[in-house]
Symmetry: C2
Subunit: 334 residues, 2 copies
């Protein structure tokens, strides 16, 4: 990465909703302290006119606070709101994407030809949750360029937010995606009132299948990635809270009689569950390769989602528990 | 193992409390089905006289039910209660210990010279929880003799209770012990109301330290063991429910002003928390080897337990998070 302006990296945040504001605040606090970064963090604002008649970007720059999406919290005087996308990114060599995922493609198209050479980007859109000043963690996956990965980790790390890097992009990505399918399984167990023992067993079997599935698809995937925050910790968080878990619980409480679509519409106000669509995509991959029997939990979640199996099936696949020892699983006894 | 009586294995259960009765029921259901086992399961009963004047062992053999410790559940006609320890074990070649741990030593002394040659024993005293007919799992650790391990696994496996075997006795044992220390950390987070994100992070860091500590003590310990039921699943169960978590939560809610001893006495009616004493023992090992800085979570739990640090310290060790990459951890960024 080229590193202009007296050798200091410049950060731009694409997005200024609740998450974008939280990220800008954290980053600005770090860039102010770290000598290798320019203090200023540019935050691209999708411009709105506030009820007062003021523009959102102007309000942010005056009050150093996003009064609409993160009221009551100071962002830091070095967060500069900019309603012009091209101007917001033109000096940056590190871009942080924090917009709703449906806007990413359109934004990227607008950025073509407008960026500095060698610019790097990171996405916080999926998987990363930064609890405000509460201790938490995240994992950054990278390929080869450890120096760049370390630079990003440094930019995000705070005493309450630990960031680790792992050389396993596919593993990190698949953890972020597959955990939502396991969260559906965990939610079904909650809805069936089977207790923590059963839920923990299902989460573990889910983690095992996540690992085996990832390693079958990408032999480069490492076991250790599943011990990282993106693995076991995010899985636990998603299976304890999270909307996939919540809607699946409601699905099981209704005995599968109300569809996921219906419950989603009612409970999530138009948002879609990642887990249901991921389960379908995973099922297609499993079917294509003839792997369904190797992944009873992942398969069963999809078959429950589409109403082919009842919710209780989530704990009824023991008789065909597969031997996953080829990817490092133990040998279950039959 | 010698295998007398027409080649069939004979099982005796040492203990007939709630757990002992649940185990006897499960085992008897399996021995009745499995051709390599003698149907009968002898259950040693610490004899008591019931309010009706009847002996507990006689009542069990008449009603096929332990009306005192597992009322309302049929044990199976092939469970034979025996109040005479020597007689209960004399034909058995597989012993299952399910007594309160303080009685084990005394019982073992009485068994010296009374057992058949080559007899094998398993302990269900710590770590294994068999939810009645709810889906759950367990791990059996073994050394070298895979055939024996498989025999035990077969004896315990049911469609709702999956048993896996791993060639890593030390790893399985240490999982069972160390998880209680992590559960104290998780309980402290609950008591501080820090939410699921923080709790999941602490559980993951705990799992990482469990793994690193085990591997430092016993280089033979395997990473995979921590993906087994005895690792991640039991850790989750213990950190969601469990008395270590519960008392630690109360400790944090009281700001550390009431001691663990006091809270234990009040909440557990004389039972002692495994986690507090294990944390002390682990701390002694860490101090002896000069390893405290490598294991901030395990160390901090002990220092909180003895009142040397406040409960909030559980989330304040990020600045000295160690590099555990020598046992396969990722490199955190500082």
């Amino acid at each position: 990465m080229e590193n202009g302006h007296a050798g200091k990296h410049r950060v731009a945040v694409i997005g200024s909703g609740n998450w974008g504001s939280v990220a800008s605040r954290l980053l600005a606090s770090n860039t102010a302290k770290l000598p290798s970064f320019h203090d200023e963090v540019r935050m691209w604002v999708f411009e709105e006119t506030l009820p007062t008649g003021e523009k959102l970007s102007e309000s942010i720059n005056q009050a150093h606070e996003n009064c609409k999406y993160l009221p009551g919290i100071k962002l830091g005087t070095n967060v500069i709101a900019d309603p012009d996308l091209e101007s917001a990114v033109k000096d940056a060599d590190m871009l942080v994407f924090v917009t709703p995922h449906q806007f990413v493609e359109g934004i990227c198209k607008k950025l073509v030809g407008k960026l500095r050479p060698g610019v790097e980007a990171i996405s916080l859109i999926k998987g990363m949750e930064i609890a405000v000043e509460k201790f938490s963690e995240a994992t950054i996956g990278y390929r080869e360029d450890k120096e760049a990965a370390n630079r990003w980790a440094k930019l995000f790390t705070t005493p309450y937010f630990l960031v680790a890097i792992v050389e396993d992009i596919e593993g990190v990505e698949l953890c972020g995606t597959l955990k939502n399918v396991v969260a559906i399984a965990a939610g079904l167990v909650d809805g069936l009132d089977m207790g923590n023992n059963t839920k923990a067993a299902i989460m573990r079997i889910g983690l095992r299948e996540m690992r085996a599935f990832s390693k079958l698809l990408f032999p480069s995937v490492r076991d250790n990635t599943f011990f990282e925050s993106c693995g076991v910790a995010d899985l636990i968080t998603t299976c304890l809270g999270g909307r996939n878990r919540r809607v699946a619980e409601a699905f099981a409480r209704n005995g599968g009689k109300r569809s996921f679509d219906e419950l989603e519409a009612e409970m999530l106000h138009g948002q879609k569950l990642q887990g249901v669509s991921t389960a379908r995509e995973v099922y297609e991959v499993l079917t294509y390769h003839g792997w369904q029997e190797l992944f009873p939990l992942l398969s069963t979640v999809h078959e429950i989602c589409i109403g082919q199996l009842p919710p209780t099936s989530i704990v009824e696949y023991s008789e065909h528990t597969p031997n996953l020892s080829f990817v490092g699983g133990s040998t279950p006894c039959y």
